[in-house]
């Protein structure tokens, strides 16, 4: 809340200048009202792959189920609390803190939402502060399991965007025409985030646009995200700077001018330094009666070490009163670049050996940055009491023959192209 206060002042000044006249409302709350809400998930995941770990976020979770332990409780388990303050019809503020396992394996609270909202009128509202990057249909409630049909959004699609939040300005414009409703959202901002392997992700010049059209049981959404990212870990930095050093060394060896140039170029080609990424997505949700159909498609453009990827999923569910079985198919394609690296012909043998090792390291790094896989998921949601749901989910994953898919903590004995079976059980609740 403290960090939001200066933002509130800025918002007040900005909005006061926009306001020609104070809109009048019939029902003004007498004083600020505060509401507390919470949500959480208690769950465990099993994976039969013993040379890599199943995780729910490749940027946040250093390990998970499979290699680290067959069953792991730190993949979906979380607890969130939110305070909502309504100052009057126009101004409100929200602070949401979520405790989940972080990149250093510690269960530290993180701020998911912290913004002040100004509602100019029924159609137009403005938020200043931290919001969630709603790159996809349920990105903004991805941590609130109770709000979603599955245990987690299909990783094939939901994990292609590494950033989750933006600190900045967010504008929502809603237009109702008859029973139709259209919502346009624009966000700008930036963010810093710690990653696994002591890494850091800095997002700059973030720009997000989405348009959502709702009619009766149909929701159709288009979104676009553009952001410049710096993503590095000590390991990736060491690898890429080793190529720089190699280039400098080779420049002194007669006949190795080409290899020197190759080595020097490697860092520039793969370092994620202020690298522009763009994400396009389209989503459809249909809820006629007892049926649920959801499908999304997305593309992320190539950015240095991150390869271009196309992802989609489709989910079909049917509700029998409190029990909803569902089936999902999902796939992410992506070129895993096979980088030949620096040519070793004519190098002195010790240098050739070192260069080969470096080339191997680079290809391993690149394969980790690409996630091609497909999966089929069978699940069931049981709303056993009014504010909690039990979900069981079986997922069969086919990994691309060159990559480890969405798996993390990949061991040297891991063989790409494997089939992985996972089973998850969670209780999602809200209060």
């Amino acid at each position: 809340m403290i960090r939001v206060k200066p933002l509130a002042t800025v918002a007040t000044i900005f909005i006061a200048s926009c306001l020609a006249s104070q809109p009048t409302f019939a029902f003004e709350p007498a004083s600020p009202s505060f509401t507390f809400n919470g949500f959480g998930t208690l769950g465990a995941v099993y994976s039969d792959e013993d040379q890599a770990d199943f995780v729910s976020s490749w940027v946040l979770q250093p390990n998970g189920a499979g290699h680290t332990s067959e069953w792991h409780a730190g993949i979906d388990t979380k607890l969130g609390g939110q305070v909502n303050a309504q100052f009057n019809e126009q101004f409100s503020a929200v602070l949401q803190v979520v405790v989940e396992r972080q990149e250093d394996n510690a269960w530290t609270p993180a701020i998911e939402w912290a913004n002040i909202q100004y509602r100019l009128n029924d159609n137009f509202s403005l938020r200043l502060g931290r919001t969630v990057v709603a790159a996809f249909m349920v990105s903004d409630t991805r941590l609130v399991g109770y709000a979603n049909p599955w245990i987690r959004g299909p990783q094939e699609l939901y994990q292609i965007v590494p950033i989750t939040n933006l600190d900045g300005l967010d504008v929502i414009y809603t237009l109702d025409f008859g029973d139709w409703r259209n919502t346009l959202q624009l966000s700008v901002g930036q963010t810093n985030q710690d990653l696994i392997s002591n890494g850091e992700l800095r997002s700059r010049d973030g720009f997000m646009f989405s348009n959502t059209l709702e009619f009766d049981y149909t929701t159709f959404r288009l979104a676009y995200l553009s952001v410049n990212i710096d993503l590095d870990t000590p390991d990736s930095n060491a690898l890429l700077s080793a190529y720089g050093d190699l280039g400098e060394a080779l420049a002194f060896i007669p006949g190795q001018e080409d290899a020197a140039a190759q080595a020097s170029a490697m860092s520039g080609r793969y370092a994620l330094n202020d690298a522009p990424i763009e994400v396009y997505s389209a989503g459809l949700r249909l809820e006629p009666g007892r049926w649920l159909f959801m499908a999304e498609w997305a593309r992320i453009t190539e950015a240095n070490a991150l390869s271009k990827a196309d992802a989609w999923y489709a989910t079909l569910g049917y509700r029998f009163n409190a029990v909803t079985p569902y089936l999902s198919l999902a796939e992410v394609n992506g070129d895993t670049p096979q980088e030949p690296g620096v040519t070793t012909s004519g190098m002195p043998p010790p240098l050739a050996t070192a260069t080969d090792a470096l080339n191997n390291g680079l290809n391993q790094f690149l394969s980790q940055a690409s996630h091609a896989q497909k999966s089929i998921t069978l699940g069931i949601r049981w709303d056993f009491i009014s504010n909690a749901a039990l979900k069981l989910q079986y997922q069969h994953i086919e990994l691309d023959e060159k990559s480890a898919g969405r798996l993390a903590n990949v061991q040297s004995a891991f063989e790409p192209g494997n089939r992985v079976n996972t089973f998850s059980a969670v209780i999602d609740f809200v209060f």
Binding site: F25, N37, S92, W113, T141, A147, N148, R319, N387, V430
Partner: protein, 145 residues
């Protein structure tokens, strides 16, 4: 013969039980406003939008402030099924989406149909739903188109 008689009797009992159960889950719920409200009829879709936080206005542009009945009440479950086709947990999941993205809070709650009538008369809220049997001259039933 005896056996047949016995099974007929069982069948009748079962039918009565089913009818009783159906009547229990099919309470007749009507949408109401204060007796002096200018609102007379609304579309089913707009009522759903008002109660699901997607619309803040009546068709004439005046502000709509909905009032819920308590969670788990027959009136509430019947009402949402009627106007939106949503089950109680679907309504709760819908509100979870709005609450945890800072987009809104669900309508205030009244304990029962009498409390709804009382609060409508006191003008803090201006649209609710009650059991048809409890309608009196303090409220006006809204025709649902």
């Amino acid at each position: 013969m005896n056996y047949k008689k016995h099974s007929d009797c069982l069948l009748k009992l079962a039918l009565i039980a089913i009818c009783f159960a159906m009547s229990q889950v099919q309470a007749e719920v009507v949408v109401v406003v204060a007796a002096d409200s200018p609102v007379t009829s609304l579309s089913r879709g707009l009522v759903a939008k008002i109660f699901l936080g997607k619309s803040r206005r009546f068709p004439d542009g005046s502000r709509a402030v909905p009032l819920n009945q308590s969670e788990g009440s027959l009136e509430r479950d019947t009402f949402y099924q009627l106007v939106s086709g949503k089950s109680p947990s679907q309504v709760k999941a819908h509100w979870s989406k709005l609450i945890f993205t800072g987009r809104g809070q669900p309508p205030k709650e009244a304990a029962d149909s009498d409390a709804v009538k009382h609060l409508l008369a006191n003008n803090g809220v201006n649209i609710g739903y009650i059991d048809r049997g409890t309608v009196d001259n303090s409220v006006k039933v809204v025709a649902i188109k």
